[in-house]
């Protein structure tokens, strides 16, 4: 079954072709290049499905395709393709979302009469290309390259409406903040190459494999600063984590994401569900064999994830704009995935990544549909009662919201529950600091379940329920098939994708229902299966499970607690906002609300870091340069000029003076030579 893998490069190449077509021929094509993009992503989707079927048959693929830079006496840099179950799953997700976003864009961009469509579709094509290439990158350098290109594409698309003031600024911020994270990532990449001499993710010669051998004393690696391998690997892992935190919008590098809502809504869907933000978490999953070796790195990942989940959820509570709520929920949900990864729940993280991709894409596209209807007004307080006027949007949006809030049996429930469950059992079971940190992260994750339920349904009720609060909401703009079709597809998926992996139900009934566990456990390449990861986690990092109520009891208790909290959140939102004329109950939070509206002043301090610290420093450096460094240069020239000005006074122009000078000098010289030479 090598057939599918032979065509694997085309999965990424097709969107690249659509990028070129849209960029150069888009003007002359109907729909501004959209059709090329749709065809290309549909092709990618089919190929991805074929690849996934092949992988399901047990085949995997890890092949170097192109030598980027050869090494004569040193290592080489290559580009290649790695396809294992994780990759196959992610390829499917990315190409599916990209395809639906392309279709949706027909309604959001073309039907709304936007200009610059070729640029838009070119951006989408390049974005899809970069993300797909990132997903099946076979080594960390290639991953970094496409990680960066993903950043470029987000810059181009967030700043799509460049004629206004805000989008370019948001685009700049997105690129700069993620670049800051990527700086650490690149240091990590360089460090990994310097340490292991390879950047391959998978296989016996891969860097996680070498790292494991080094820890067991079976291989020698170069470490730096005299660190022992364990510490040095932790440092490397944390450096790479910098890039992850930037792209996946984890605290404190999350500030770019809410601003990124300035981009067109389909782009937001693509960024948040399947591409840029997912890239960070995916990277940790991709090199999980490396992280599994370091309990410190795991603890930090879990802590960052848990904290971000709670932190972002609280901010989502007070937002007034539809897309802002979704933005903070994205940050929060990626926090869950990080929590899962840190807690040793590799499968749970991938599961949540999958379900989140579906329901978050759905919610963003639903929001896009609402925004079309509301003539691009995004304030929820101007909406209300849209339920009856746009039923397709409402029902699909509701499906997504239930999934996001984690209500059984929608997708989010299964995955979020598994995340929390893994954090709980490993927090209870692991020794020392790791266990404590995991429990703390678990507590934060659990608390944010309540907030998630609350803000999600506050959003739903404000938008769709009650009475219309403005004229636009009374007579919304209609939406076409190209909006409804993606919504319908995703609505069904958001409701059902959780059935991939119903662990609590499996434990309860004894029927085999954890298909994703099986999926991620199979495959023939070293350091890519969840079973390997489980062994490594247990043996090297000391992650151990403990079931205080027995396996079944703990599973059910954990599920019950998280479901209960989610329902409590939904219930609170129901009682406060599901009325005809809702009022702003969050006002009761008083000054806390101001803090939340200002996002805990995170933006303020980061802007201050840029304009209040760095820029004055640059000005000072400029002053120093002009004054001191260049001053010395100009000083030398001034001294020369001044000295010359004085010296020229010797040139009186009177010939007799010159003659006197010459004679005197000659006499002096003669006397001097005489004295030195001993003539006298």
């Amino acid at each position: 079954m090598a057939g599918a893998f032979t065509y694997a490069p085309a999965i990424a190449a097709l969107p690249f072709v659509s990028f070129l077509v849209a960029l150069f021929l888009g003007d002359r094509m109907p729909k501004g290049g959209a059709l090329a993009g749709i065809a290309a992503t549909a092709g990618s989707l089919l190929l991805s499905a074929w690849v996934a079927l092949t992988v399901a048959g047990g085949a995997t693929y890890n092949q170097t395709l192109y030598t980027f830079i050869e090494g004569i006496d040193t290592f080489e840099l290559t580009l290649g393709i790695l396809i294992d179950p994780l990759t196959a799953l992610m390829l499917l997700i990315v190409s599916l979302i990209a395809f639906l976003v392309h279709v949706f864009s027909l309604g959001y961009m073309n039907d709304e009469g936007e200009t610059g469509l070729p640029r838009y579709y070119a951006g989408l094509g390049l974005f899809t290309f970069s993300m797909l290439s990132f997903v099946y990158a076979s080594n960390i350098l290639m991953a970094f390259m496409f990680f960066e290109l993903v950043g470029l594409c987000s810059f181009l698309l967030i700043g799509f409406w460049f004629r206004e003031a805000a989008p370019p600024s948001a685009a700049k911020k997105a690129f700069l903040v993620t670049r800051f994270g990527d700086y650490f990532f690149l240091v990590g990449v360089v460090g990994i190459f310097a340490t292991f001499g390879t950047g391959a993710f998978a296989g016996a010669e891969s860097f996680p494999a070498i790292a494991e051998q080094a820890l067991n004393g079976e291989a020698e690696v170069t470490t730096f600063f005299g660190m022992d391998p364990q510490t040095w690997f932790t440092v490397l892992g944390l450096l790479v984590l910098g890039g992850v935190m930037g792209k996946s919008a984890q605290f404190p590098l999350h500030t770019w994401l809410p601003d990124a809502m300035e981009g067109p809504t389909p782009v937001s869907a693509l960024i948040h569900a399947a591409t840029m933000v997912a890239a960070g978490v995916y990277l940790v999953a991709r090199m999980y064999g490396f992280y599994a070796l370091s309990p410190t790195a795991l603890a930090i990942i879990a802590l960052v994830g848990g904290f971000t989940a709670l932190f972002a959820a609280t901010m989502g509570v007070v937002k007034q704009e539809l897309k802002q709520v979704l933005a903070y929920s994205t940050i929060s949900q990626y926090g869950y995935m990080m929590l899962a990864l840190g807690a040793g729940g590799y499968v749970a993280a991938v599961f949540h990544l999958t379900t989140h991709a579906m329901f978050k894409a759905l919610l963003f596209l639903g929001a896009g549909s609402v925004i079309i209807a509301m003539h691009h007004n995004e304030n929820m307080w101007d909406m209300g009662g849209l339920k009856d006027r746009m039923p397709v949007t409402y029902w699909t949006f509701l499906s997504g919201s239930l999934a996001l809030a984690g209500i059984v049996p929608f997708a989010g429930f299964w995955s979020k529950d598994e995340v929390l469950f893994e954090a709980l059992i490993h927090g209870l079971g692991s020794d020392g600091g790791l266990g404590t940190v995991l429990l703390a992260a678990y507590a934060m994750g659990l608390l944010s379940v309540f907030f998630t339920g609350f803000y999600t349904f506050r959003m739903v009720f404000l938008t769709f329920h009650g009475k219309p609060r403005t004229e636009t909401a009374r007579k919304p703009h209609g939406v076409g098939w190209n909006v409804k079709f993606p919504l319908a597809v995703l609505g069904v998926l958001a409701a059902t994708i959780g059935f991939l992996n119903m662990v609590p139900l499996e434990k309860l009934t004894g029927i085999h229902l954890s298909f994703l566990h099986d999926w991620l456990a199979h495959g023939g390449i070293e350091m890519t299966t969840s079973e390997t990861y489980g062994t490594l986690l247990h043996d090297v990092a000391g992650v151990t499970a403990h079931y205080p109520l027995g396996e079944l009891g703990t599973t059910l208790a954990s599920a019950a607690v998280s479901l209960g909290l989610a329902l409590a959140g939904v219930g609170t939102a129901w009682s406060l906002y599901n009325v005809d004329e809702p009022t702003e109950h969050t006002d009761k939070l008083g000054s806390l609300k101001t803090v939340l509206m200002h996002n805990y002043y995170q933006d303020e301090y980061q802007v201050w870091l840029a304009t209040g610290v760095t820029y004055p420093l640059a000005r000072a450096a400029d002053k120093f340069d002009q004054g001191v460094v260049d001053g010395v240069v100009n000083g030398v020239s001034s001294v020369s000029l001044f000295g010359g000005g004085r010296m020229r006074r010797l040139q009186s122009g009177v010939v007799s003076n010159y003659a006197t000078l010459i004679t005197t000098a000659l006499v002096v010289l003669l006397v001097a030579f005489g004295l030195i030479g001993g003539w006298f």
Binding site: T67, F68, I69, E70, G71, I72, D73, T74, L77, L141, F144, M145, F146, E148, L149, L152, G159, F162, R163, E164, A165, P167, P168, S169, A171, K172, F175, L176, R179, F180, D182, Y183, L186, V187, V189, V190, G191, F193, A194, T222, F224, F225, A610, T614, Y615, L617, A618, R619, A621, D622, D625, V629, D630, V633, S637
Partner: protein
């Protein structure tokens, strides 16, 4: 092989012809003439790529150099001076860069240069001839003639066609770099006299091999002569590069120079400094370089960060690019001192890459200036609305400058980082590398900031003329450069393999490894 003689002859002859040509057709004539050496050198590059890919270093394994021509010239003070030229994997790409960039720069001068055209284009061709000579010469005397010969046309190009403070800038450039040349000359000749009877020519290969052969040099004022010579030559070349703290001539020269001259200045002239550092300091006195690794790396890292910080404080687009050149050249220094294959090779690749990208940036800024008559970031906004193609290329170039993957800057910088991180010569190499790498964040900061202010946002520029898209012949060189940048970014091996083979001999006898 008379290829290099042909390159030199055609450009020199072209310069003379252009001087006497009429202003009406001088521009087109010069461009046509310069396209001959450009095509010829591309052909030579192709020949080299096919036949000499694996050739070594022109100084250390001179038998393997390509296109060699060696003719005795004069006998002076016991030294035989020769017309001795040849190319290796380091100089071949630089030479091609020179000729191609000159042709493109000449095309980009059509719009901005309207006075004394015959003289302008003649001087440009004269400079091209000198630059070809600098990269091809393998005899010190010949090399030095070309090295100094670059200054003269450059002085006039800045001083006559420059901006308001052109005289200040031109004199500063000339005096500063000339003093540096003097210091370097003293340093080099102290080596020559230190070697004494071991050499009978001023051919660089002979000198390099004698020095690497462990010749006894003696000492000067209590310091080892090799160290004194190294420091003097390093200073002389560092001014040309330029690195902190001897960089201040650069922004003035760039801001005052007309666009095509800036292109040549940033694209090729700065590379003379790093090329000479590689050829003289790091090839001939590698062991000394290794003992001075920490200060040299510190200068490199400081240039990266300090140059980037200075760029952040500027408002003039051209000044921003000028200061960022200092930053990029810092990477070259860091790569050279690493004495690793990817470090030194990456540094050399960075010379090519920066030559293309900075040339592209200056040209793009120039095209914008041609239309808007301002380069101040605060004076304009939303230019993307009026000149979409130019701005598109400008944005691409800016991202190339930031080291976007699949553009040449990324390959170069990653190679430098990979090399310097694992350098065994430099203590605390990862720390130096880590600090230098922060430059990629600052560079993104100022370029994104400048772009946001000038090309995006609502269109605003108060002019009494219509700002429209640039003419085709302004944009065409930009497109060519951008394609080259992407080609080298996707397939670095087009240049990198020959570079690797040429720099590897330097590492072999490097001593400390």
């Amino acid at each position: 092989m008379v290829m290099i003689a042909a390159l030199l002859g055609i450009t020199l002859l072209g310069a003379v012809v252009t001087f006497f040509a009429d202003d009406r057709y001088a521009a087109r004539l010069a461009t046509a003439i310069s396209s001959i050496p450009a095509l010829l050198s591309v052909w030579m590059y192709w020949q080299y790529y096919q036949n000499f890919q694996e050739a070594g270093n022109a100084l250390l394994t001179p038998g393997e150099a390509a296109f060699v021509q060696q003719i005795p010239w004069i006998e002076l003070a016991g030294f035989e001076l020769q017309y001795y030229v040849g190319l290796d994997g380091v100089s071949m790409p630089l030479l091609t860069l020179t000729t191609v960039l000159t042709t493109l720069a000449l095309v980009s001068s059509w719009t901005p240069i309207s006075e004394r055209q015959n003289q302008f284009y003649g001087l440009m061709l004269l400079m091209e001839a000198s630059l070809i000579g600098v990269f091809a010469a393998l005899d010190f005397f010949l090399w030095f003639v070309f090295w100094e010969g670059v200054l003269i046309p450059m002085y006039f190009l800045i001083g006559v066609w420059g901006g308001p403070r052109r005289k200040y800038a031109a004199i500063k450039f000339f005096v500063y770099t000339n003093v540096a040349s003097l210091v370097m000359f003293v340093g080099f000749f102290s080596l020559v006299f230190g070697l004494g009877d071991e050499i009978s020519t001023l051919g660089l290969p002979a000198i390099a091999q004698a020095l690497r052969g462990g010749a006894e040099l003696g000492s000067l004022f209590g310091f080892p002569l090799a160290t004194v010579a190294f420091v003097l030559m390093f200073f002389g070349f560092a001014v040309k590069v330029p690195v902190f703290p001897v960089h201040t001539w650069l922004p003035d020269a760039h801001v005052e120079a007309p666009t095509p001259v800036s292109v040549m200045l940033a694209g090729v002239l700065l590379k003379m400094g790093t090329y000479a550092l590689l050829r003289f300091n790091f090839t001939m006195l590698g062991d000394v370089a290794q003992t001075l690794a920490v200060p040299i790396a510190a200068i490199g890292v400081l240039s990266v960060i300090y140059g980037a910080m200075l760029a952040l404080a500027q408002r003039d687009l051209k000044r921003i690019v000028a200061y960022s050149s200092i930053s990029s050249m810092g990477y070259v220094i860091l790569g050279l001192i690493s004495f690793q294959e990817h470090g030194v090779g990456g540094a050399t690749f960075q010379m090519i890459s920066h030559g293309l990208i900075s040339g592209l940036m200056f040209m793009a800024v120039g095209v914008i200036y041609n239309e808007t008559h301002t380069r101040m970031v605060g004076d304009m906004s939303g230019l993307a609305d009026r000149m979409p193609w130019t701005v598109g290329i400008f944005v691409s170039a800016a991202f190339g400058y930031m080291g976007l993957p699949l553009m040449s800057g990324f390959a170069a910088e990653v190679l430098v980082f990979l090399g310097s991180f694992q350098s065994t010569v430099l203590p605390y190499a990862p720390l130096f590398t880590g600090v230098a790498m922060f430059g990629i964040v600052v560079v993104a900061g100022y370029l994104l900031w400048a772009m946001q202010r000038s090309v995006f946002g609502p269109y605003r520029l108060e002019t009494d003329y219509e700002v429209a898209g640039a003419p085709f012949h302004d944009v065409a060189p930009l497109v060519v450069l951008l394609l080259l940048v992407i080609a080298l970014g996707v397939a670095p091996d087009l240049s990198y393999r020959m570079i690797q083979h040429a720099v590897n001999p330097i590492l072999d006898v490097g001593g400390g490894i």
